[in-house]
């Protein structure tokens, strides 16, 4: 089963995304901060990570850079989920190595579609 890591300090968003992804038949690992995200990614090696940009401690951007720098997790698919909508924020997310960038307010349906599209592209 494909495993997805969801890292968001907002419990409601974290639970909603996890709920939606489980409905789509994916296994979900949900964590509430950046440090836990890095540790979970290294120990469980999920296929894809959904990272909130603004988290206490390590931000989603920091986590993304750390995962990309580690050969064991460098190939992981990463989607940034954030309320930061300025062009430079989006640019910062992509330059850190993110595969996609979803801004809040977001549509849960669209997020799952983007996740599935990335997973399909990665398989082919």
């Amino acid at each position: 089963m494909t495993t997805v890591l969801v890292a968001d300090d907002d419990a409601d968003i974290r639970d909603l995304v996890a709920f939606k992804l489980e409905q789509a038949g994916l296994e979900v690992l949900a964590v509430g901060d950046g440090q836990a995200a890095v540790e979970t990614a290294r120990t469980r090696n999920p296929t894809l990570a959904v990272l909130d940009v603004s988290m206490p401690g390590l931000s989603g951007i920091d986590v993304c850079r750390m995962l990309r720098a580690d050969p064991a997790t460098a190939g992981m698919l990463i989607i940034m989920l954030t309320a930061r909508v300025q062009e430079q924020d989006v640019e910062g997310g992509f330059s850190a190595g993110a595969d996609d960038y979803v801004t809040k307010p977001f549509s849960p349906r669209e997020l799952v579609s983007r996740i599935q599209a990335l997973l399909t592209r990665a398989r082919t």
Binding site: D10, D12, I13, D15, L16, F19, K20, Q23, A83, K104, P105, F106, S107, P108, R109, E110
Partner: protein, 351 residues
């Protein structure tokens, strides 16, 4: 004396013990209330998440039937989700709020005595994206409480009704206005239909208002207003507004912006304006600006030449060739700007 000291120590110890007990009691009470709220709210929160995850296709009636104490316990989650969702999930959640009568209560609360209640009501109405709330929210733009005004402006931005643009612009002309960036962002959220109002406001007597409006026009990509913005660039009596007009023209990506910006590179213009025009020509992206920017590379003001060099870099092959050619014949200062821009171009290309 020793007796007095002992009494003082005993009194102080008593006071410390009372304060410590009070702190513990408050914390225990808060913890108890939080656990109780979490317990009562757990089931409606689960129902809420399932409802939103299903885009509201199932479970609306169950959420509407949730008793008031349980709904209040789950309300922080519902409000949090309302502000962070869009699309079908957002629309479904809005329907639940409307059917529970929360919008009408919030509309009434816009005139409540307490500023927290007014701000909370404005926040909710904005998150509900409720257009009928716009007149009430506009009324809060002159609220005596700054925080309430800020929340009202954000709410108007979320609703995005251009009919509110003029009221927002008018509210900027008062002591302690909302931050300019917030006002600009909100006006942009109102969309292209706000362009006529913004363009008309370029004649406003207050410089800060003109700067906000010209910024918003640039961010909206209001090409129909390019002529008006060019006039502000040439004629406005405030240098900051002229700099904002240069930046706005750069964002428009229209050829009509080219000549007005080139004109502002002239040596008799203020240095800040020359630098802004040079930067804006880089944003505009027209290779026709290359010879003009090359001339400005020799400008005596560091920032003007610096902006010209980096705009040439951003203009691509034509600009890079001009930088290399200038390097061969330039003096030390100009060569420094060219070297820096070419080095950055090489780094970006390698990355």
């Amino acid at each position: 004396m020793p007796g007095l000291l002992a009494i003082t120590v005993a009194v102080l110890a008593g006071v410390v013990a009372v304060i410590a007990s009070a702190i513990v009691a408050v914390r225990v009470r808060r913890g108890f209330r939080r656990r109780r709220r979490d317990r009562i709210g757990a089931a409606p929160r689960r129902a809420l998440l399932a409802f939103v995850a299903d885009n509201g296709e199932r479970g609306a009636d169950e959420l509407i039937a949730v008793p008031e104490p349980a709904w209040r316990a789950a309300l922080p989650s519902a409000l949090g989700l309302l502000g962070k969702l869009r699309g079908d999930a957002h629309r479904a959640l809005v329907m639940v709020f409307l059917r529970r009568g929360m919008a009408s209560r919030a509309l009434a609360d816009l005139t409540a005595r307490g500023s927290v209640r007014r701000a909370s009501a404005a926040q909710l109405l904005g998150d509900l994206e409720l257009r009928p709330a716009v007149p009430g929210l506009c009324g809060l733009l002159t609220d005596h409480n700054h925080e309430v005004r800020v929340v009202a402006v954000r709410a108007l931005g979320r609703i995005g009704d251009p009919a509110a643009a003029w009221r927002l612009i008018a509210s900027l002309d008062r002591p302690d206005p909302v931050p300019s960036l917030l006002a600009t962002h909100t006006l942009v959220q109102m969309g292209p239909d706000a362009e006529v109002t913004l363009s008309a406001a370029l004649d406003h007597p207050e410089a800060r208002v003109r700067a906000v409006c010209v910024d918003a026009l640039g961010l909206l990509g209001a090409t129909a207003s390019a002529g008006r913005i060019a006039r502000v660039l040439h004629e406005d009596r405030n240098p900051d507004v002229r700099v904002a007009a240069a930046a706005a023209l750069g964002r428009l990506s229209t050829r009509t912006a080219l000549d007005p910006l080139i004109a502002e590179l002239a040596p008799d213009r203020p240095a800040g304006l020359r630098a802004a025009a040079a930067r804006a020509l880089g944003d505009l992206g027209s290779p026709a600006a290359v010879p003009h920017l090359v001339t400005v590379l020799r400008d005596g003001e560091f920032w003007v030449a610096h902006e010209a060099a980096h705009s040439l870099r951003r203009l691509g092959p034509a600009g890079l060739t001009a930088l290399r050619e200038t390097l061969e014949v330039a003096g030390v200062d100009t060569a420094g700007h060219c070297h820096e821009a070419l080095a950055l171009a090489a780094i970006l290309e390698a990355a």
